[in-house]
Symmetry: C2
Subunit: 462 residues, 2 copies
């Protein structure tokens, strides 16, 4: 058993220097979406390679058609130590609108909020430089105390996460043997709240579709043709209305295949989180849960599939009125998937349903807008249980296993391409303003994040 206590002490002692190193990284303007910062992205990768080599990693900058990857390896303390892949990204979001920043986004600082909280300000302090540095600094503390790491570690830092990760899949494919580990550690998520650590185990998938219905070959006058000519807006609205029944369930054939009920103990733990429909929806001016009846808002957003119309348009939409029967009407529709739902089967079921509703003299066109399955990690795998206990010890509060309404594509890629489940642990808070001006990361997130990772890798080795 690794002696953890001196490692945690070392992390505490290192904190000031850890912050200095993070701030060095934050100062590098590694905005991946803007070609003007291409050299900065490489500088960030090189900085990370140097930082990792300093603590004994075999690290290198690896070119891609876009911004480079950083790959680093470190042996475990014993030859049979488990092997983990840690993932983070060194690129950051653009900083516009710059005038809304209270401090320069690339001049990080510690800011005392006066209520006992200290925060680190600057672009990337949370997403994802601050988060990835919690892991690097945990490794450093281990190395400094024990001269080794309790697990074998491979690190993958990406520089294109904020621009859709175009190089990632080819890179995983080309380097699968090098990157494959028993488990991936992904640090790009958040805590439940500032006191409660969380591990995300369910991420919803997505099927995006665009549909355009064409009736007449031109717009028609509703006086001359109304009552006789097909109106594509009627057809479309009837189709969309038919996608859900009165209980909020999606009506597509086979839609719920692969959807499993959330385990009772997980549901019970969600009940304790105190997120009522009133509190959750109240923040956006609503109060009544939509969607399936008889389920909590956490279950609805984390563990149940949905169908949403994200956009609709057709006919005359300007000022005043025009008595037109439009030739075309369109909508963008997305399905959030859970469990083992199959995106292509759901796309097919949707298209079959729509086609079945189109009158003989009308036509329909579909346009695909992405599809990815849900990620459903085991709620009680050994790795998750170990990490959960480690986090609970560090934060003196039980860690919660949560779901996420949206998807994190990398987790699916790791699963599909490297056959490897992920452990999603992160220390971001909902008020971190990632992607917005005045991004921050709580000093406590950073400090206890480092200690958390130290505990987790020790636990995974045990």
């Amino acid at each position: 058993m690794t002696d953890l206590s001196p490692v945690l002490d070392r992390a505490d002692q290192n904190l000031e220097k850890s912050l200095e190193r993070l701030f060095d990284l934050v100062r590098i303007k590694s905005i991946s979406t803007d070609p003007a910062y291409k050299a900065d992205c490489r500088t960030a990768a090189e900085w990370l390679v140097a930082a990792l080599m300093e603590i004994g990693f075999d690290a290198s900058v690896r070119d891609t058609p876009g911004h480079p990857m950083v790959v680093a390896h470190h042996d475990g303390a014993t030859p049979d130590a488990p092997h983990v892949l840690f993932y983070g990204h060194y690129d950051v979001q653009p900083i516009d609108p710059i005038e809304l920043w209270e401090n320069d986004p690339f001049t990080p600082a510690v800011k005392d909020l006066g209520d006992g909280r200290k925060v680190l300000t600057g672009r990337g302090t949370s997403d994802d430089k601050g988060q990835l540095m919690t892991f690097v600094e945990a490794c450093r503390a281990f190395k400094e105390v024990h001269g080794s790491l309790p697990v074998r570690v491979t690190i993958l830092f990406e520089g294109e996460e904020e621009s859709g990760s175009p190089s990632l899949k080819p890179f995983l494919e080309a380097n699968a043997d090098e990157l494959k580990a028993s488990c991936a550690l992904v640090c790009d998520t958040g805590m439940w709240d500032s006191d409660t650590p969380a591990i995300a185990a369910a991420l919803r998938g997505l099927v995006g579709e665009e549909v355009t219905i064409t009736a007449a070959d031109r717009d028609l006058h509703s006086g001359l043709f109304g009552g006789a000519a097909a109106n594509p807006i009627h057809i479309l609205t009837t189709i969309l209305a038919g996608l859900r029944d009165e209980t909020g369930r999606v009506t597509l054939e086979g839609f719920y295949e692969g959807v499993e009920e959330t385990p009772a103990n997980i549901k019970a733990s969600w009940e304790t989180l105190g997120r009522s429909a009133e509190s959750f929806l109240g923040e956006v001016g609503l109060s009544v849960p939509s969607g399936e009846k008889g389920r909590s808002v956490l279950e609805l957003t984390w563990a149940r599939p949905t169908c949403e119309v994200n956009g609709i348009w057709g006919g005359y939409t300007g000022e005043g009125f025009k008595t037109v029967i439009a030739a075309k009407a369109s909508a963008k529709i997305s399905f959030r998937l859970v469990g083992q739902q199959d995106p292509s089967k759901i796309r097919d079921a949707f298209r079959s349903y729509v086609r079945s509703q189109i009158p003989a003299d009308c036509s329909v066109e579909f346009h695909e807008h992405g599809g990815s399955p849900a990620i459903q990690l085991s709620y009680d795998s050994p790795a998750l249980t170990k990490a959960k206990n480690a986090l609970s010890d560090e934060w003196a509060k039980p860690a919660v296993i949560i779901g996420m309404g949206g998807s994190i594509p990398i987790v699916g890629d790791f699963q599909k391409m490297l056959g490897m489940d992920s452990l999603l642990v992160g220390f971001g808070l909902v008020d971190d303003r990632i992607h917005s001006p005045n991004e921050k990361y709580d000093l406590k997130s950073f400090h206890k994040g480092i200690r958390s990772w130290a505990r987790i890798i020790a636990a995974l080795a045990a």
Copy 2:
């Protein structure tokens, strides 16, 4: 009984001069929507006054806040002769795009189409200068032959029909006693086809509504909120889909109050017109009648009420995809009314229905876009029967009593404000290109139109 035959002969002999007079009127650029042509509008009114005085009318230009009216009176041959009000408009549509005209729009000409048809070209030759001059020239022929008119005639020519007739209602109100007659003759409609005269007896009314549904107080991320937060597009599409049942009937409570079945003989006459669903809808790329089942396209467009969504919008409608749950969704909806349907009752029924479908935490706003009842003239009044027989005699083919899918507001105004039904007789053809470049009026429409009016006023006097 008036001796009609010499009047018809006179109309034939006058034709060349009648054309010259019409062309004089067409040359006046009386575009009512464009302030640059304000003086031309007055010139047209003055020209008409002079033309009417020349044939014995007591005629005058009458100022309004907009373009002037022309009002003229002529006694009947006997003191107890029926009194008719003839309505037409001297203003014309703009001429853009000018480059598409084959001849100057204000230099009228007779053009031989080579297939036996001759047409009069120029803006207003059909709508409505050519049409109103058929009546004036019929009066002239009567006066020249008999020195009198068989009926007492009041004429009202408007100069703002193409700009929404803003001065008309106040003018009717202020001059009701002067304008009221036993029947109005309105010459602003068309024939069934180039051989078949028509009288329009049913004009659909209209209720226009705009509805905006608001759910959350901002746009939401569909991953974070999807499944729990109300989606206004779902609410809207469900509401719109519910407006019509599977048989095409409108579901609003009381919607069919005041809707009567078209008399069997009228329906039978429509059947003989040979307008099949295939031919009518085929012109616009359709083939299957929408709306109520088991009714012909003529019945659907002339004699049945409808509900049409004329526009819909909400959420993300640009390129690509955005997983947004919109805060708002809107639609523009119109109802075409028939018979005695009450616009305000239908508006109320619509709003009640919509309100009943709005979840407790969402809201709805309505915006009114006009409302007017249908015009349902008697299918067998003495005046209509006389006019029908007169037209049938002139064209050697039974005149058909038709409906019109759209409304002609003046007919409702005459009914409501002057207590007077209208007789809608016109000689326009579907290929007259009114409101478009290269407007024309068939010489036959003009010539036989004059003869038709001569026959009609003789018949009305009998």
